[in-house]
Symmetry: C2
Subunit: 379 residues, 2 copies
């Protein structure tokens, strides 16, 4: 089967190369920007792909919501399978696109949108058919894991590791989506949709790593703790919970062995128990391998089922004790169980607090111009 | 679809319970020993299952090679899909049974035979369709991992942790298959067949954990090292390598975070990079969940492909430095790079040695009545 590719950047080139070697599949036309058609296989009009009867499937790796959404919809309506690595697209329009795919009797798969080379969504989709998923999440953003690991292993400051991540190509010129936790949040949105048939679209709690300092690292490392940016999802009554925040782990935790830009995805099945998947969450070939894996499994799996609906996330039932560093004059807002002064700040650990409460207090303090870092204590 | 179950022990009961709740599947007749038919759904003759037109699939969880092999063959010939947890059966007769399945146009799947709840073989089979698998293996035996973990975290001796493992139901009354590495070896046989279309049937190197003592643990723990029983497989020219041996890891290795009776399966894809899967490798519901997962995916995947052939494993190209404790009068047989006397023994680390050479020297020394413990040093 001929597979057209939308976008010829880092991942697109990887998909093209893998398709050249994959039995049963071959690369078809590749959509590039007008004026960039420097090879016979490159085209600049989506119609040339949608109307090509030889194209059986489309790999969308161009990113962004538009025009990717219109192109994917057109391909699905024309009866082409679609595989995408585009988490923003699936988070925004996945349910509608899956409906188009069903109407045309084709597949709409997006393993590469969550975990890169780590086959998280694929395994979740299969597990959800026969098991009850009690929890899902983990370390789903490699850029921030690289940065936290570098801060903790080399004692560097936030600004330095961000520059290092950008120099290595792990972080974009505008790193906001990664460091703010938005990228990880989009991934947990997709994972909840696959596991629970519920796509949370608002009501989130999201804290990235932008507030962490070398002094914070030195303080919790002295207590034997390691920080990771953790994404969590699970059932919450008629809805799901879904949030992103830094978490501190004791040294024996498997999370501490996830270094550099690796990912660690987890789910807990009522029957299977805790299942952990680790690997490279980004990069040309890991991400391309997830795209091609989906292309090899067309027709065998539905990731977004007909019963999937949009919901508002409900994190009210989730609670943790939090490690907090906050301006001394704001410390009274936090229910510290223990704390100590540290210059103009107070550091300590709170009594257990609901996740939305902790995030709301932090937002409030920041809106007043105050400074705060917080991380959940892994129980 | 009605699923008949062969065997109603730990796993069989779990499969029955899960099928009762699984959409699209329901439990059919259950094969038990003659005289044990105490419920209407229990039967004692395989013909009642093979000739039942309502039975679409058979879950074989009785264990042992015969009569399981004859029963599975009869079911496949009768056009029933077969899913099995029986690693000894697949290692001995898998290629022939897969051929019968193809001839009948049905599936023959065995995820539960390797890794219990950890979806290792399923992911390997999918990855092998589109990626080159450079390496596979890991911690594939939960019983020995429990024992090693207990020796290392509690300072107990081998005999004590074996009794503890038996009391907890992790080890059989006859624990030989686990502690000798045979169970782990059978799993790597299956993994090689799935990933490389080559089922190694002899030429193995296999060392279990029977020689480890509390003194060995104390010595390498003082060096910051942790022991795990590791199974390794990979391509070796026209054949594959496949061996089992204890390995010592530095504290930062992910292997050290695999505690109790957990498993950690790994593969390294040319494109996907290193992928690690962790979870419970045994137990009623984890193993049953793997059986039911296969039953939900019938027809979508072939684990043993037509080109799969039997080969002799070739470990000659695999080499490691080894930590060794050996009787002082035999120490001259080992190419120690550094060593020291320890009572009547010598302890040290060898220069890099081929895996079969190390195993052969150990076997020779034991045949002469000598005592030796060895473990590869993780590079």
């Amino acid at each position: 089967m001929k597979v057209a590719i939308l976008g010829f950047g880092t991942v697109g080139v990887g998909v093209y190369e893998m398709l050249e070697k994959c039995p049963g599949l071959e690369p078809g036309p590749v959509l590039v920007r007008k004026g960039k058609e420097d090879k016979p296989f490159k085209v600049s009009s989506i119609e040339q792909i949608v109307n090509d009867p030889e194209v059986g499937a489309v790999a969308e790796v161009m990113g962004g919501i538009e025009p990717a959404n219109s192109y994917v919809a057109a391909a699905l309506k024309a009866g082409k399978h679609v595989v995408t690595s585009n988490k923003a697209l699936v988070a925004a329009h996945g349910i509608e696109l899956a409906e188009l795919a069903r109407a045309s009797g084709v597949s709409f798969l997006f393993s590469a949108a969550c975990g890169g080379g780590v086959p998280f969504l694929h395994n979740l989709a299969i597990a959800a058919q026969s098991d009850e998923i009690l929890f899902l999440g983990g370390i789903l953003n490699g850029t921030t894991n690289f940065m936290l690991d570098a801060m903790q292993s080399e004692g560097k400051d936030y600004g330095d590791v961000l520059k290092q991540a950008q120099a290595l190509g792990y972080a974009e010129a505008d790193p906001t989506a990664d460091v703010s936790g938005l990228d990880a949040l989009r991934k947990i949105m997709l994972a909840c949709a696959v596991a629970y048939n519920k796509l949370p679209v608002d009501g989130f709690s999201r804290e990235g790593i932008e507030s962490i300092t070398a002094a914070d690292v030195a303080d919790f490392q002295a207590k034997g703790l390691t920080c990771r940016l953790i994404t969590s999802g699970g059932p919450a009554g008629e809805s799901v919970y879904a949030y992103v925040e830094p978490v501190l782990f004791p040294a024996s935790s498997p999370e501490c062995s996830v270094v550099k830009n690796f990912n660690m995805a987890k789910y807990n099945g009522q029957n299977a128990g805790a299942i952990v998947l680790m690997g490279q969450g980004a990069g040309r070939y890991p991400t391309a391998s997830a795209v091609v894996r989906d292309l090899c499994g067309l027709g065998s799996l539905e990731m977004l089922r007909p019963e999937c609906v949009k919901v508002r996330a409900d994190n009210a039932g989730c609670a943790h004790a939090y490690y907090v560093r906050v301006d001394a004059d704001k410390a009274g807002r936090l229910p510290f169980a223990e704390s100590k002064a540290d210059g103009a700040s107070v550091r300590g650990v709170t009594a257990p607090m609901a996740v939305p409460e902790m995030h709301a207090i932090a937002n409030e303090i920041r809106q007043e111009g105050g400074s705060i870092f917080f991380a959940a204590m892994e129980a």
